[in-house]
Amino acid sequence: MIEGILIGLTTALTFQNIFMVMIGCFFGTIIGMLPGLGPMTAIALMIPITYGFDPATGLILMAGVYYGAVFGGSTSSILLNAPGVPGTVATSFDGYPMAQQGKAGKALAIAAWSSFAGGTLSAIYLLFMAPSLSKVSLSFRSPDYFALMILGLTAIAAFSSKGQFLKAMIMVVLGLMLASVGQDSLSDITRFTFNNMNLTDGISFVLVVMATFAMSEALTIILRKNDPTSAARQVSLTELGSIKIDKGERRKMYKTIPRSSLIGFLIGVLPGAGATIASFLAYGMERNLVKDEEKDKFGKGSVNGLSAPETANNAACSGSFVPMLTLGIPGSGTTAVMLGALLGFGIQPGPRLYMTNPEIFWSVIMSMYIGMVVLLILNLPLIPYIARILAVPKNYLIPLILFFSITGIYVMSFNNFDIYLMIGIAIVATFLRLYDFPMPPLILAFVLGGLMEENLRRSLLLSNGSWSFLWDRPLTISILATTLLIVFWHIYKTTLNRNIK
């Protein structure tokens, strides 16, 4: 492991990669501060830029964008009570009241230090857990992988659907259907191409991401007459006050951070769960664990109440890299986008990644530390200035998003058909968004489609066409049982909520 850390440090500490982390964090903070535009859009817009780099640098850039976006989301949560990303909703519970008491700078500093500590601790957990999990996952066979993918898709459908599980499952199937277009990987037989040569190689992953996130996000903003940049204009005018944290507040954070980082990391590792659930759970847990007098302060500007979700959401970001790096199965929509980009580089993440491409594996882990430092040192004092840059009218922002999306496809294929297809998918996605059909399940399914078919093929061939492979191994049964548990738990929770209403 020491050797790996050194490889990672050598790669991550090159001038180019440090610069990329800084650019990523800066750009991510900007996008994260805009309500509605989350980390997935930010990362999708970065994909064309990553083509010019080696895979390690590309992934480091995307990871920087990810942390930056989460940090940017916290800023608008604290200052405006308008969370930029869902993972920072819980941050606004105590961050916004604190800002209203004239302690906006302090609230931002608590959030930044908690994010830093949460991210750093979880990067340490990742450092120890990822190689061990990689070794364990070497014993995984095709049926286990197939079951794991079903678990991942079901979990993301359950957690991202806001109570509309069937809508999310429809999106999963649609994503898998889109992935099935083009040549079959084994026989080279073309499927669903309707004799169109442009579809022979299938639909590009970047095209689907750009269409369903960046482009449809921009069209939705115009359609709904939203103005995400108005939030930034308000931030640029907010008086921050002191960013110093006193001794008593630090003492409170010392207790909150370790437990919240652990819960955040563990939730982040679970497929589909992610930063939103982690931050809410950490907030709830913290409220139960603090003394009664502190409990009363929750919702009114509590230091623990702000520190807990901020620690947990950053820890969950690092945790979500575990399934992607060790199993090759992304745990969230954001890591699915990164996995797709890695596949585009010709790299297959999975248990052998840290043996075949140790520089990628370790440099991403090491870049997390650097990213946290960058966010703390550079972004915290720069928040009002970043907000001022952001305060561009949406009349400029929307065309620029469309321009980045179309450029991304253009530099990839130099093909009109792909641009038309992207516009078509974006129109459908915009319409589906209006009726709350979630997009992350579609992306995860699209990325996993090929791998899922491959593992199902191997499993069925090994068992002579019998589906008994699903219950032949205890590991497969356990994974499928977890899937069923998630489905039933979700149905139970939804029914309970409806009855309460």
Partner: protein, 156 residues
């Protein structure tokens, strides 16, 4: 059963799944692969049935949290114009080239979204695209096809 737009979308997906399933059965496989446990049509067939199953459930089951969209409040005109500009951009980018079409696309989009500050619009189109092209083509060495710039000798 209450009919709402979500159910209509589910019905459309049901029909789409049925079409997908029909097309999946039509996939030509090699004769020696016809009775194999897994061939090129196996996975799509399962997907077709899965699509029918989930969309069928969505149609049949009650939908207490149905979404109501106020279509009157939506900005259809500007959205449609923006899509139209994007389609024209896509149609001309290969023939005319990246620089000119992208700059004009940005300029037109700013205008149709209501911007009238011409100097700012200009700087955020032509010079901005030139700088971005330099970043991609000049620094990152990502090839950009541009017949227009090639014809006037700016690009090699």
């Amino acid at each position: 059963m209450n009919i709402n737009t979500t159910k209509i979308i589910s019905l459309l997906f049901f029909i789409f799944s049925a079409f997908y399933l029909y097309t999946a059965y039509q996939i030509q496989v090699f004769s020696f692969d016809e009775n194999a446990p897994f061939n090129a049509r196996t996975f799509p067939i399962y997907l077709g049935y899965a699509g029918l199953f989930f969309s069928g459930l969505k149609i049949i089951l009650p939908d207490p949290d149905s979404i109501k969209v106020e279509h009157k409040t939506l900005e259809y005109k500007k959205t449609f114009l923006l899509i139209l500009i994007a389609i024209i951009y896509g149609a001309t980018i290969l023939k005319v080239g990246y620089f000119l079409t992208t700059s004009l696309f940005l300029l037109a989009s700013y205008y149709f979204l209501g911007e009238r500050r011409w100097i700012l619009m200009f700087f955020l189109s032509f010079p901005f695209v030139a700088a971005f092209m330099y970043l991609l083509h000049g620094i990152l060495e990502i090839y950009l096809r541009d017949p227009f710039l090639q014809s006037i000798g700016v690009m090699g």
